[in-house]
């Protein structure tokens, strides 16, 4: 018998247990996409749904998604955060139709038949419950307690809010991984901080969400795709840095600007890369790159944390952002950027963050190219679903590395993905 695992839609994984070769069908097949929604986004995972600072006051709410399921994050009158599926328990209509706001009355009323729910998702009002003039009304045994909204479990982790459909999930910190490497980097930018949201941006990218997941776990491409990274030394594969993997598929890439060895620079020059023009490419106004060093008490200048299945959280120079991945079908996803700073920012630091956003976002001089790379992959994998990609930089295994010339973090993603999906 063929040891390779043949499953949904005839898709064949090249070899059982292999993470360095991924069949293109995972990016194109509707059946795979539908199974991901069940097994991953609504399965045993914690999904990022927003920053607590987006709903700072009682009555605040924000509409978002877990996978492609619409949900609402709310803050109740006591200050606790909740999440529920944005689908009326009566006839399935959206209960909340705004992106965000404050609901001073504390109830969320479906416009269709005015069923109303509280911030926790419990049904608190049904019009014409006893009928009108003795006619109609709900049956005598109708119990409002049985008709609440579908609730998700929620954890507020140092101001980042995660939700799960899986009632049996261990807590978020366990999910992050026991050895704490990703956790440590996450707490570095969140813990004990008074977070202030400074703006949003959204991109709709015609690509499967996993091409972007790969991209944000890929320290190899950043020197080769992004001229700004390479030429200005914001990030180079030759810098002191590394990758850490915890909880199976959560990863962190980090680097320190200005640590390239002479030897590595010399090798870089010899390879004549498009992206390395340090001697010829200059800025008319270099204020773009003027940052504040040591903001976090160390010399780490870039950290990309990828918390599966749907969050990227970054510190690049002095920019801070969460990027929420919202799949929109097998060949599209929305990327929702929420930029933040700290309430303690002085004016100069705040202006540095705002100016550096020129580098990072939908129009980011660096990050726009990640959108493009995802698109050109999707355009090319339209056929030959059982051909596969080659993910062998730095070996074929999954382990931490004290350098950036590796794809081990991408292999970690596929390792966990295979297990959750049963490949």
């Amino acid at each position: 018998m063929d040891a390779r695992v043949k499953r949904t839609g005839g898709l064949i994984w090249p070899e059982e247990g292999v993470n360095s070769a991924v069949p293109y069908g995972v990016f194109t097949e509707q059946a795979v996409y539908d199974e991901e929604q069940a097994r991953i986004f609504r399965g045993p995972t914690w999904n990022f749904i927003g920053l607590a600072a987006e709903v700072p006051n009682p009555g605040d709410y924000k509409a978002t998604f877990v996978g492609d399921t619409p949900i609402v994050m709310t803050r109740d009158e006591k200050g606790d955060i909740h999440a529920w599926v944005n689908r009326c328990a009566h006839r399935g209509a959206l209960v909340c139709r705004e992106l965000r706001g404050n609901n001073a009355a504390g109830t969320y009323t479906c416009v269709y038949h005015q069923w109303s729910f509280d911030a926790r998702g419990d049904l608190v009002g049904v019009p014409f419950r006893r009928g009108l003039g003795g006619k109609g009304g709900y049956p005598a045994d109708f119990d409002t307690k049985q008709h609440g909204l579908r609730k998700l479990r929620v954890e507020n982790y140092h101001g980042a809010v995660f939700a799960t459909f899986d009632d049996a999930m261990p807590g978020f910190q366990d999910y992050l991984g026991a050895d704490g490497a990703v956790d440590q980097h996450l707490r570095r930018v969140l813990e004990g901080r008074d977070i202030e949201v400074i703006g949003h941006a959204r991109q709709y990218i015609p690509s499967n969400w996993k091409f972007y997941a790969e991209n944000t776990k890929d320290p190899y491409h950043a020197s080769l795709l992004h001229l700004f990274h390479m030429t200005f030394g914001l990030y180079r594969s030759s810098q002191v840095g590394g990758v850490k993997i915890t909880g199976g598929w959560h990863t962190v890439l980090f680097s320190r600007s200005g640590t390239d060895s002479e030897e590595a620079i010399s090798e870089t020059k010899d390879s004549q890369l498009r992206t390395y023009q340090a001697d010829s490419y200059t800025l008319a106004d270099p204020s773009l790159l003027k940052g504040r060093k040591g903001e976090w008490g160390d010399d780490v200048t870039l950290v990309i944390m990828s918390l599966m299945p749907n969050l990227v959280i970054q510190q690049i120079q002095n920019t801070l952002a969460v990027r929420q991945i919202v799949p929109k079908g097998r060949d599209a996803f929305e990327l929702v950027w929420t930029y933040f700073g700290y309430k303690t920012d002085d004016e100069e630091l705040r202006n540095i963050r705002l100016k550096q956003i020129n580098l990072i976002g939908p129009a980011g001089l660096i990050s726009m190219e990640d959108g493009e790379s995802s698109v050109i992959c999707q355009q090319a994998v339209v056929r030959d679903q059982n051909d596969w990609s080659c993910i062998e930089m730095g070996g074929r295994d999954v382990k931490d590395a004290d350098h950036l010339v590796t794809e081990t973090t991408i292999r970690a993603f596929w390792d966990e993905y295979r297990q959750l999906m049963g490949y």
């Binding site: 941006a201 959204r202 106004d285 939908p362 726009m368």
Partner: protein
């Protein structure tokens, strides 16, 4: 009306402001981007702001240039550094109004729409919004001292590299 509020006399005509805006968008659409910074005064501010942020009073802009040098850097990056799908823009502008003129600074608001055509030949509505401009006279010619592009299409299709 007896309750009219006194305002500074408007000495610049809408025709002049429209000529500036038309020349600006045609410069972009005709891919003469190296000339694009010349539409600005030396001391200038250019921001492309999602309406979502403008409505919430949040400061993040997806493009934010506070000098002519930064405008030039955007174009050099587009020509030499950035990776993106080749495309054309076609701006349509309308409803220009002069909102006021004070101390030589004209404030004007204009609706705009940008169609984008990729090499697959399909034209899509890429970005719509409004320009809120502060315009000054530099050596007799009108120039943007400040240009805010506040866009309704806050879910950007793939990426934004060409200025609006």
């Amino acid at each position: 009306m007896s309750t009219a509020v006194a305002t500074a006399p408007v000495t610049t005509t809408r025709q002049e402001v429209e000529d500036l805006i038309h020349a600006y968008v045609q410069c972009i659409d005709d891919d003469r981007l190296e000339e694009w910074p010349d539409f600005f005064a030396d001391d200038c501010l250019y921001k492309v702001i999602p309406r979502e942020n403008a409505d919430l009073g949040l400061p993040v802009a997806v493009m934010f240039c506070d000098s002519k040098g930064m405008l030039r850097d955007r174009i050099v990056a587009l020509r030499k550094a950035n990776i993106y799908a080749p495309h054309f823009y076609r701006h349509l502008v309308s409803n220009t109004r002069i909102l006021g003129e004070q101390a030589g600074v004209i404030t004007a608001q204009t609706n705009y729409g940008v169609f984008q055509t990729l090499l697959d030949g399909e034209t899509r509505v890429y970005n719509t919004g409004k320009y809120v401009d502060k315009i000054v006279r530099v050596n007799g010619a009108l120039r943007f001292k400040e240009k805010l592009c506040i866009f309704d299409t806050y879910r950007i299709q793939t990426l934004m590299v060409t200025p609006i």
